[in-house]
Amino acid sequence: MIGVVPALNACEGEHLRGFTFLGAKGPGEDLFVSFHDLRLSAQRRAAHYAAAGLRRGDRVALVVPEGEHFIPAFLGALWGGLIPVPLYPPVSLGKLDAFMEALVGILNIARPRVLVTTERVGKVLWSAVGRIASIEKVITTEELAKHAGSFPAAADVRDDEIAFLQFTSGSTALPKGVMVTHGSLVANCRAIVREGLEADGAKDKAVSWLPLYHDMGLIGFVIAPVCYRISVVFIPTMSFIKNATLWMETIHKHRATLSFAPNFAYALVTKRAKPEQIARWDLSQMRVFGCGAEPINPGTMRAFLQAMAPAGLKPEALLPCYGMAEATLAISFVPLDEPLQTDRIDAERYHADHEAAPVSNGSAFLEVVSCGRTFVGHEVTVQDDDGRILPERHIGGICFRGPSLTAGYWENPEATQAAFRGGWLHTGDLGYKVGDRVFVSGRIKDILIVNGRNYHPQGIEWLVNEIPGVRKGSSVVFTRPGAASEEIVVAAEARADDAAALVSEEFQLAVSDVALVPPGTLPKTSSGKLQRRKTREQYLNGSIGRTSRLGSTRLAVAKHLALSLVGRARHEVRKLLGG
């Protein structure tokens, strides 16, 4: 078991395996970089960093959208013992101001000496760069690719040294940089590749469209594959977003065996794949379709398996997993060859007694996906508020410890102490164990307590998302102080007149207010996740839902609705007329 830098150094002579970048040489023209060449290009970047005066421990911010440019720049920084800070590029439509604000916030905390970007992105970033006192120099990936002097030797990094900073997509006001160490990387990559996937670079091939500035894409599909020399085909994230079926198409074409994605991607590809495409694909060789990084909806998983069954996809290929940046990446994996397993628990006892009792006939139930078991040398427990370990099927905070634990948050001892106490990482997730299996049922911070009962907003939000007229994935449920107890508020983008009635019926839970907001206005994190706490703050301080804009917003929504009904009516009439 060796570190990522020695592993990269050992890639000399590996000409057959490596990374393929879809379309990197032009439309339809892929770029293959062997691990041998990847090592050389990392060394070249390290030489440029050294020539720029960067020393061990200096931070290098990376805002580089293209994988073929990002990966050598990132590995080159590791090679030199620098601390790369991967950051997301400005690629979502019309969000430049919010992007700049978030970028400046992170850069002021990470204090990099150098910012690496591409010539094209650099033109967008220059105004932010001027606001960061620590940045001495902007280096483009084009410059990094040029001839460099003699290559420096690989830095002899210790296990407890920081490998890179992984900024988490929490609140943009107070971003936190997880300190991933060389030691935690080694431990987690070994756990994922050897134990979780039983992967073999001679047989396996991975496909990923995941962004490289997030842990799942960066560790799962760059660092772990370099350590174990597993070939990977990279689809540009934007190409996947524009055409989700490219994911399956690439797996089919490359006879890939491994891929991972969050829940939403499985929903998207299920929606977009046409029967004639599925009929053409062969997915029978796929060993692992990992699903993690956001709550796993069993309905989405079953729909995906059903849709892809004609392509020969084996149900046991689906592999739910659980993890987070604070644990480097992975905490638990469902064992290979185990099909999707869910636990149906009594909803009443869950909310009232905080127990996960198997449901008896006819009672209302919650369905929770098994996220498998943790790895050798690691431990998962469920603890109460006082740190006592709870017996199985009792709901509490999920805690994790072992060699994959990161060193906490960069220059943030308060947040570090809050999350890493008593030798355990307190994940902030709620769940329970059955035997060695981990079940994740919600977030502690987001829990709704109404009349002494606990509810998880996720389940209610999934329900609200099913209401016609609500934008999928654009509802947030939270509480406001009420006369006797907390009261439930639903904030949703677009029309949601029926939300109150539906939630009341399904959860026997009164909804006190439904705040309709214009599309695209609910606060989101850098990765596009809705921010429940921030939404609640905005609601409580009156900036959404209850301002004088409410009237005009409702009017606009009503008008929009009327117009779409007119459109629909016309459509129906045309259908009747056969035209």
């Binding site: 979502s92 439509l93 094209r120 967008v124 934007m238 524009k242 934008r471 779409s564």
Partner: protein, 86 residues
């Protein structure tokens, strides 16, 4: 070089094909993120334009596109030989 390109009309067509969404009131100054399409649908719409017109909008230019007119201007810069409706 062919007939002029009406990005507003094309946008309406794209929104219908990609997201089953009718936008009769769409104007050049409409801010795209207020149309009720989620970010994935918006990117699918961008892809629709790219395919129809045979252009590739560089990713980093997307963040500057707020309105339909911004989209039209961006595409017009990429297709200097074509005529665009006002």
């Amino acid at each position: 070089m062919g007939e002029s390109i009406d990005v507003v009309e094309m946008f309406k067509q794209a929104a219908f094909e990609v997201d089953n969404r009718r936008l009769p009131d769409l104007k050049p100054q409409t801010v795209i993120t207020t149309l009720g399409m989620d970010s994935v649908a918006i990117m699918e719409l961008v892809a629709w334009f790219e395919e129809k017109l045979g252009v590739r909008i560089p990713d980093e230019q997307l963040s500057k596109i707020r309105t339909v007119k911004d989209l039209r201007d961006t595409i017009a810069r990429l297709l200097p030989d074509r005529q665009f409706a006002a």
